[in-house]
């Protein structure tokens, strides 16, 4: 199974995702430059965190026009696995591969700290190895993570179990106390209806070793590997 990590100018969590995949998960991984027209035969595409193109406009608004987004869109539409983390999530929203938009955090400040998120649904390739309701301790680091969408979209997200992660307190309550940025319905991550494209604001690649205070993010990468292995076996 091969991961591809897209590098936009201004990406800064690309190396962290690469390291988590190659050194902790021991899976093949390759960087893909944003001007690339192909995805280097990757089985999963990661859009990493950072400030693609500086993000001086709306976050992700320029990155969605990077040449690499054409093959990424094609890959996603044909069922390929795509995970957008933080800035990557913002780019997926701008690209229309996921519904909704980001506003600035309530309080209008950048926030970097460990938060707790609850796995709301395990019937996705991203959470397959987790337990439903499992609480993960994973850091956030963003200025614009206040997810919003119109009421119809929210209803759809709920109805189709597209809300993959919600912010909670350490003991699992999804009230305002557990919500670090004002995100609608405490949404921390969603997937598309087909469940092959997901975006999340927390950084699982920053929570893959106990030395970094949490290894809870591993379950997301492991889910992807397991899903792929299972489907590969099925195809064989």
């Amino acid at each position: 199974m091969k991961f591809g990590v897209v590098v936009f100018p201004g990406s800064n969590c690309d190396h962290d995702a690469f390291y988590a995949i190659s050194e902790v998960l021991h899976q093949p991984v390759e960087f893909i430059w944003h001007q690339s027209e192909d995805l280097a035969n990757s089985d999963v595409i990661i859009l990493p965190g950072g400030f693609a193109h500086g993000d001086y406009l709306r976050t992700g608004a320029i990155a969605r026009f990077s040449p690499v987004m054409k093959p990424v869109e094609k890959f996603a539409k044909s069922g390929g696995l795509v995970l957008g983390i933080c800035n990557g999530f913002q780019i997926l929203l701008e690209a229309g591969l996921l519904p909704g938009a980001m506003m600035r955090n309530v309080g209008l400040r950048y926030i970097c700290r460990h938060v707790y998120i609850r796995v709301e649904d395990t019937a996705t390739p991203f959470t397959h190895a987790a337990k439903k309701g499992q609480i993960l301790k994973i850091p956030i680091a963003h200025n614009e993570g206040n997810y919003t969408c119109d009421p119809e979209t929210l209803a759809q997200l709920r109805k189709n179990d597209q809300i993959v992660f919600r912010y909670t307190t350490a003991d699992g309550s999804d009230d305002a106390a557990g919500n670090p940025n004002g995100s609608m319905d405490n949404i921390a991550g969603i997937c598309n209806r087909e469940r092959n494209v997901a975006g999340m604001m927390p950084h699982p690649e920053r929570a893959v070793e106990s030395a970094l205070d949490s290894a809870d993010g591993l379950v997301i990468f492991r889910s992807l590997v397991e899903t792929f292995m299972t489907s590969a076996k099925a195809t064989a």
Partner: protein, 776 residues
């Protein structure tokens, strides 16, 4: 300030407007053998400004220890470099951006961070951490300074907010974790905040780059952002003169930062360096193109010839004077191997950056600047860089302050309940948690951060691919330096080193940022000289040579100087990252031990008890407790014993490598009680119960700030071994209490309960005071 075309005839008056004195101007004429034109005058004025030439500090800086067996590069390059083992080196340096941050807090802070990052990657090192040492005027009414006006406090809050946002914005976008530093408050910083930024990078030893131009005919390449009219005379005039009421008009002199371009520049420079086609490289910081061309030529013993017509420009109609003096950010100058320039240019093209051959290395040692082929400046590079004015400015110690025992802190009676005072201390901005600030920094990007701010005494980052980690701490107590410059400076070194040792690292080298008032005042120069001597003594004793840094003079507004404020950054190495120590207690039932590097003082007899109390009161009057609770700032900093500091640090290292500690936290601001409380705050749901015995007054023992001490916690089974190890190191180890599961923080002193409160209540005060103060 004239920034017009070359037709302006230079006179002594125009030279004076450029900050050049009559003798300095005469020296310019002597070096050139003629009158300079306006462009040349501009070049001399920035190169010979205080900021770039160190003309007032040079004679004193020579007294600092700069050599050591691990030092690869001492002062004089873009950053200091030390050997950290495994074939790796660390490049690190701290620099000030005080004046711009007062005039325009956000941009001043961003460009401070940007500048120091460029200094690091110019050396070929990838930045891995940023620390910021910040000082502001009071953000709440202070008992010790009742005269600070409400509007000043409001302004201080705005400056703080702008600086914090600036630091955050640059580091977060650039993608290097901002993991430490300090935030301090004193009235003297109201009109002159201090923003000192430290960056750390690592490289393979053989991959280091230096800023020495060589190879006649080698192309000189300009890379990065375009040149604009921003920041002209930013460093030379803004940072080399004191503030007056007109200083807000200097806003156009402040540069504007673009972390995105800098991120591209970083990746492109490292990639270009890896091609092997780069000979030398220097960033364009203070004095921009002037400084980078002159210094590269001077260091390499060559000349450099450039044509300004080829310099990428953001606006039209810029004069040679403006182009040479612009301090536009995110630019670099490099020298490539002749014939291999396409390899270099290709890399920058990939990253979407301008990269243009603007000239070449030349024989003859001249800096020759052309504009579309016509020579507009021609100056011998070496005299320009190295033969600037050097002053041995007058030094006069200030008259000793008339101090009486009435100025000193009067200790409360022995049985007084001190819980309320303790809470006030925890709420003071100096002691309160800085979490509200550090949460705005990305502290985790690059996934190397083993100790986020507040988790340990020093910031700790691991080095992937090795077992090693690096620890970094900054420290500086301006109040103590004001009361006794030499002693204050020694404490700054000792505390930074102690912090590093408390994280399990061996301190190996230092960097310093020296913030002072006007060097033209003999009293300020006396402070400077004393502080240099204090730094030299402490850095020698603790074996942490100084590898670089900077001097910032003229930190004064309307004639009032800041406290002399040396900020020391100390780097330490942890051979095995598994031995990293943090400050939080871990397990209920663990034993709490006070380590003291000072040999036990002589027992107090009845006759000397009063004298002891008087000495303690004098020392205690300079403490944070005295300032926040009693409103007294007087006396002397605590006496220091560098041998005791060294013993304590070596003991901590031995304990860390034996992996027998659960936590370690040094004693500093707020003394023992604050240290103990902070170790509780970092441990959810735990408490601590202490039983203390001493003959000093309770306040002195609980809140005194004498150095060479640390609090550790250990599993009970480890006790004998630890006491033995401490004894071997000549360090006193006293059992003072236990970690408990009841969530209560209690201290018994000489048999009476003097502090008792739930950890949650104390944590609530400590965690939120800063945010509350800022939101008032």
């Amino acid at each position: 300030m004239a920034t017009a075309s070359a037709e302006i005839k230079v006179t002594a008056e125009i030279a004076a407007e450029h900050g050049l004195s009559a003798p300095e101007y005469a020296r310019v004429q002597e070096i050139l053998g003629r009158d300079p034109n306006i462009t040349e005058l501009g070049i001399f004025s920035v190169m010979w400004s205080e900021h770039c030439s160190y003309k007032s500090s040079k004679v004193h800086l020579k007294r600092l220890p700069v050599r050591g067996k691990l030092v690869v590069q001492g002062p004089g390059e873009n950053a200091g470099v030390v050997d950290i083992g495994d074939g790796l080196v660390a490049a690190f340096k701290i620099e000030s951006h005080n004046h711009p941050s007062f005039v325009e807090p956000f941009q001043g802070a961003t460009t401070g961070v940007g500048g120091i990052l460029r200094d690091i990657f110019t050396m070929g090192a990838r930045p891995i951490a940023i620390l910021d040492s910040l000082r502001f005027g009071p953000i709440t009414p202070e008992k010790s300074a009742p005269s600070v006006a409400a509007e000043t406090i409001a302004k201080n809050r705005r400056i703080l907010d702008g600086v914090i946002r600036g630091v955050a914005s640059y580091g977060n976008s650039f993608g290097v974790p901002t993991i430490g530093g300090e935030v301090c408050f004193e009235p003297c910083y109201s009109q002159n905040p201090l923003v000192n930024a430290l960056a750390l990078g690592i490289a393979k030893k053989e991959d280091l780059f230096f800023a020495k131009a060589r190879g006649t005919g080698n192309p000189v390449i300009y890379v990065g952002a375009k040149t604009g009219r921003d920041g002209i005379h930013g460093a030379s005039l803004l940072a080399s003169a004191e503030f007056t009421e007109e200083s807000q008009q200097k806003r156009p002199n402040v540069q504007v930062g673009d972390p995105f371009i800098e991120k591209l520049l970083l990746e492109a420079c490292l990639e270009a360096m890896a091609t092997g086609a780069v000979v030398a490289i220097q960033d364009m910081g203070a004095a921009g193109l002037t400084c980078s061309t002159t210094e590269m030529a001077s260091r390499g013993g060559t000349g450099i010839e450039i044509d300004l017509g080829r310099v990428p420009q953001r606006e039209t109609g810029m004069t040679p004077y403006e182009i040479m003096l612009s301090e536009s950010q995110e630019r670099m100058l490099l020298v490539a191997e002749k014939g291999r320039e396409p390899e270099v240019l290709q890399v920058f093209k990939k990253w979407g950056l301008d990269a243009v051959v603007v000239g070449e290395v030349a024989d003859g040692g001249l800096l020759r600047v052309k504009d579309h082929g016509q020579v507009v400046a021609e100056i011998p590079a070496h005299p320009l860089a190295e033969e600037g004015p050097v002053y041995r400015r007058p030094i006069t110690p200030p008259a000793p302050r008339a101090e009486t025992s009435a100025d000193w802190f009067a200790f409360a009676p022995a049985n007084k309940n001190l819980t309320d005072n303790f809470k006030r201390l925890l709420a003071s901005p100096a002691i309160a948690s800085k979490g509200w600030i550090t949460e705005q920094y990305d502290t985790m990007v690059r996934t190397n951060t083993l100790a986020v701010p507040g988790a340990g005494d020093a910031a700790v980052v691991r080095i992937k691919g090795t077992k090693r980690a690096l620890a970094l701490a900054t420290d500086g107590n301006g109040r103590w330096c004001q009361l006794n410059p030499r002693l204050g400076a020694m404490h700054a070194v000792a505390e930074a080193a102690r912090n590093v040792a408390c994280s399990g690292a061996r301190p190996i080298a230092a960097t310093n940022c020296l913030n002072f008032g006007s060097p033209e005042k003999p009293a300020v120069m006396w402070q400077f000289s004393e502080i240099i001597d204090g730094l030299a003594e402490a850095c020698t004793a603790l074996e942490t040579p100084i590898t670089g840094g900077n001097v910032s003079f003229y930190n004064e507004t309307l004639g009032a100087s800041i406290y002399p404020t040396p900020v020391i950054g100390i780097l330490g190495v942890i051979e095995d990252a598994a031995n990293v120590l943090k400050s939080g207690f871990r397990n209920s039932g663990d034993i709490i031990i006070l380590l003291d590097g000072l040999k036990e003082p002589a027992p107090v007899t009845v006759n000397t008890a009063d004298a002891l109390t008087a000495d303690l009161a004098r020392e205690f009057s300079s403490s944070e407790y005295s300032k926040s609770v009693a409103g007294i700032v007087a006396g002397q900093p605590p006496a220091i014993d560098l041998a005791a500091e060294k013993r304590l640090q070596q003991c901590l290292l031995a304990l860390a490598s034996s992996q027998s500690l659960q936590s370690a936290h040094d004693l500093s601001d707020g003394g023992l009680a604050v240290t103990l409380a902070e170790s509780c705050f970092a441990a959810p749901k735990l408490g601590a119960q202490m039983t203390l015995q001493h003959n000093a007054p309770a306040e002195s023992f609980l809140f005194g700030e004498r150095g060479a001490r640390a609090v550790i916690s250990i599993a009970p089974t480890k006790l004998d071994g630890i006491l033995h190890l401490a004894r071997e190191h000549g360090v006193a180890a006293t059992e003072i209490g236990n970690v408990t599961s009841d969530g209560i923080f209690s201290i018994q002193y000489n048999g009476s309960a003097i502090i008792e409160e739930s950890v949650e209540a104390l944590r609530e005060i400590w965690s939120h005071s800063l945010e509350r103060a800022l939101k008032q």
